[in-house]
């Protein structure tokens, strides 16, 4: 039997879902105040104050090519990440459409990344199947890139960060989830 770990399943809207390791999940916030930032990429909805910090709030569905939708009461998760092993912890927010759900993940659930939208290849570590649907595992640091991409023709263009993620199934428990849930 393959080892089982846990991940947080996030509903991004438009049928898109993603998962993050528990150690990335800092807090689920309901109806956060949003301050729009000028000259931002289309998927940056603004910044919100969280525990004394101003945290960027990203709408991943927009990065995946969906139109912006405004809801009366938005929901978000605050994610913790590092850009390098010895770098300080940083925080970024992700708009979600429903309460995060904790689910078990095993190696034998690995599956290929969906071929569309292509942006997944830039921001996903690997993928697993849940309820017969692929769920990409989010590379949180890639969602908040420190560097501007070399060529970005439009504000809504996908981020060009890092190298493309492989389309083939990758082992889950010994890399992207289990490692990320360590102390």
């Amino acid at each position: 039997m393959t080892p089982e770990v846990h991940a947080w399943l996030l509903d991004l809207g438009y049928g898109h879902r993603t998962a993050v390791a528990p150690r990335h999940m800092a807090e689920y916030v309901f109806d956060p105040a949003l301050h729009a930032v000028p000259l931002a990429q289309a998927h940056l909805r603004g910044v919100t104050r969280w525990r004394g910090l101003l945290v960027p709030l990203v709408d991943l569905a927009v990065l995946l090519g969906e139109p912006r939708i405004e809801v009366e009461r938005r929901r978000a998760v605050i994610l913790a990440y590092r850009t390098a092993e010895d770098a300080p912890i940083r925080f970024g927010g992700l708009i979600v459409r429903a309460e995060p759900k904790e689910i078990p993940v095993r190696d034998d659930m690995a599956c290929p990344l969906p071929s569309e939208p292509e942006a997944w290849r830039e921001i996903a570590l690997s993928c697993f199947s849940h309820e017969e649907q692929p769920v990409p595992i989010l590379n949180v640091a890639a969602l908040f890139p420190e560097m501007r991409a070399a060529t970005e023709p439009a504000l809504s263009a996908p981020l060009a960060v890092g190298s493309s993620a492989p389309a083939e199934p990758q082992p889950l428990a010994d890399s992207h989830i289990q490692e990320a849930t360590g102390p």
Binding site: V37, A40, V47, L54, P145, E146, A149, E152
Partner: protein
């Protein structure tokens, strides 16, 4: 022996912001922009601006140090082709021998660096060419921070150079 890691763009921006000694806070069109005080060359009244017919730059300012172009931005930091009547002031910024002025509705001097508690936004979340390097909240309103060098690079070059 391994070489020291190169600082990231965000780290370099943080270092530069950390070096400020007071801020100038420019307000225009509902936006607020803070620039390090020492990067501002002078403040003038908009009445001294020679407004140009619709175009970019939208005006020129002549001072003892020369004549240089004046720009006006809207709330989204888009470059306007005119200076709105309510923009009563203009702040001249200088970097690398180039001087450019920004018209604004109001300008305030913040003596203490701590008055603007800047937090970095990952550079990749800004549009290409955006001159901003951080954000802060002041009186529960967003303030964006930028350096004169980046603002000057962001503004379109005038057709005829007017370097001071």
């Amino acid at each position: 022996m391994s070489a020291a890691p190169m600082p990231t763009a965000a780290e370099r921006a943080a270092e530069r912001v950390a070096a400020v000694t007071g801020w100038l806070l420019l307000a225009f069109g509902g936006a607020r922009l803070a620039v390090p005080r020492r990067e501002a060359a002078e403040i003038a009244l908009a009445a001294e601006i020679r407004r140009l017919p619709h175009g970019v730059p939208a005006g020129r300012l002549a001072t003892e140090s020369g004549e240089f172009p004046v720009y006006a931005l809207d709330a989204r930091l888009g470059v306007l082709d005119h200076i709105p009547e309510r923009y009563h002031f203009c702040v001249a910024l200088e970097y690398g021998g180039r001087r450019r002025a920004l018209a604004c509705e109001a300008v305030a001097l913040l003596h203490n660096d701590e008055d603007v508690s800047v937090q970095q936004i990952p550079a990749g979340l800004f549009a290409p060419g955006a001159p901003l390097n951080g954000v802060a909240l002041l009186d529960e309103q967003l303030v964006c921070t930028a350096h004169a060098a980046d603002l000057i690079a962001y503004l379109p070059e005038p057709e005829v150079p007017h370097d001071a």
